[in-house]
Amino acid sequence: MLFLRRTLPLILAFVLGIIGIAIYYIPHNAAQDLENELAKWDRIVAAFAMLLGLYSLMRLHWSRVRRQQAGWGYSSLVFLGFAIMFFLSLFNNGLGPFVAKSSADTDPFVWMYNNVQVPADGTMFSILAFFIASAAYRTFRARTPEAAILLVSAMIVMIGRVPIGALISDWIPWAAQWLMAVPNLAAKRGILLGVSLGAVATSLRIIFGIERAYLGGGES
């Protein structure tokens, strides 16, 4: 049993990892067809992974409703929203769930998307505009020389990237563009090189079974 539960997944990850690397260097049709087939499989498993994510989200709220934890009433609203939308999705503008999605703009599903999801998602992050302004006044401080450089660079970019910068002086947009395309580029490339080396190292640890966190279940 331990073989099936632990060794088999590790072997599978190793074999698929090595195949994934190798087929990159092999232009032969056999390798490329294998890559295409594996990628197709991955897409299908990924679809189930998305279902898993949705299921665990709903389960979290369900457990709160069931145990009547603090704020469980709000969790039941999640089910209300989900239930309405889910029903409309199955309804599919009268076509049912086993044919391709309706693309009619009179579909009530589209109405829900446009009038609930779009305003809610769009508003959520715009709230931060207010908090940024408040933080700008109360907390964005040049506590250290480094923070001072950061703030000056931010102010040049902010003013240089909107038309009013060009009204004040042509140098401001020029300076903003230079900051973006030279020092900013340099730092971002440095970070990118470091992060990419880290990403390759993490992938290697997974393939060689050194990193097993993805298997879950208390193994490190």
């Binding site: 232009p27 032969h28 709230i127 090189l193 060689f208 990193e211």
Partner: protein, 402 residues
Amino acid sequence: MRKILIGIVWLLCVIPICAQQPEEVKAFDAPNDAGGSITVTWKRIDTLPPGTLYHIALSEFPEGPFHLVKKIASETNLMSDAPGTFGHGTETSQYHFFNITAFPDPGDSSKTVAIENGKTYYFQIGTQLPSGDLFFSNSIPAQAFGNLFNQTKLNNFILGTVFSIIILVSIYMARRRTLFIRRIAGLEALDEALGRATEMGKPVLFTHGLTGMGSVSTIAAVNILSRVARRTAEFNTTLRVANNDAVVMAVSHEVVKEAYLNAGRPDAYNEDIVFMAATEQFSYAAAVDGMMVRERPAANIMMGYFFAESLLLAETGASIGAIQIAGTDSYTQLPFFITTCDYTLMGEELYAASAYLAREPKLLGSLKGQDIGKAVVLLVLLMGTLLSTLGNQSLTHLFTAY
């Protein structure tokens, strides 16, 4: 005399023909592909008048008929245009090349027929002068087949192999002996903040990011939490750990409990230290903010992967005058932490701090291996620029992704 004159006239006629007929024509399977393509190459002729065209012709039989595949201008398609396949040698500017993947259907000229693998085709290159005269080379046979290694990716393969070996060896080494890691200034700042909270007799607040236990950032955050809990247990300072994920909360419970046990203060541990603030992003931020305003912690420690809530947390923390130490590998949120916190662990520093504290070989070894990788990249960049400035592009070419 007459014979000599005839000879001269004959020579005058033949020499241009010889000079204008493509030479050194070669046809072979196009390298680095799955087949279905044949490359023809031939020597560049410098003396051609402007407007000359090359004809590339193909036949399925040695005796013909030959079908015109393409006409190209005589200045184009030099081997030096495709350094990935032909390299950067000086001679590449002296040869033309062309890849043939299909030819016009002899039965229906509006359609094309693809080159098949394993079948012999015959090729001719012709020079068409502006006057309309056409001079063809001899015909050359070739077959297409699938290749087993993409030579243009050789540098990628070598770099990948070498780096993999470095990482794996470093992890192996880290299991045998301790590896040196530089002092992480953020950890000292952390101790200072905990010290000050103790002096003031106020609590310490620890917040995780929003990601679950599967993320490297959260694992690093938990390692740091272990250190924080140990210190607060020793100093007898109140600790509060805010959570938004049930699994992370369960792990945090264990980690804090163990830290209190190791510090010899199991009595000081209670279940209220680690609590669930809220599960949704903004409600979580609002709940933690509310708690900060009520309990006024002296130190506010934020570690892990943060999203937009970082600003809400750090702003409130700063407004209550707490010492704030943050650490995140979320580069979009880093600027907000840098301007609102007293010390910030930036990007990989979070992992390094965690590796430093946890002393786990796989993390330390990996970090060490990546350092070697960075050192190599750094040297290559400096050497490459120097050589390139001196006029030698060889190192730059070695690192070109084709």
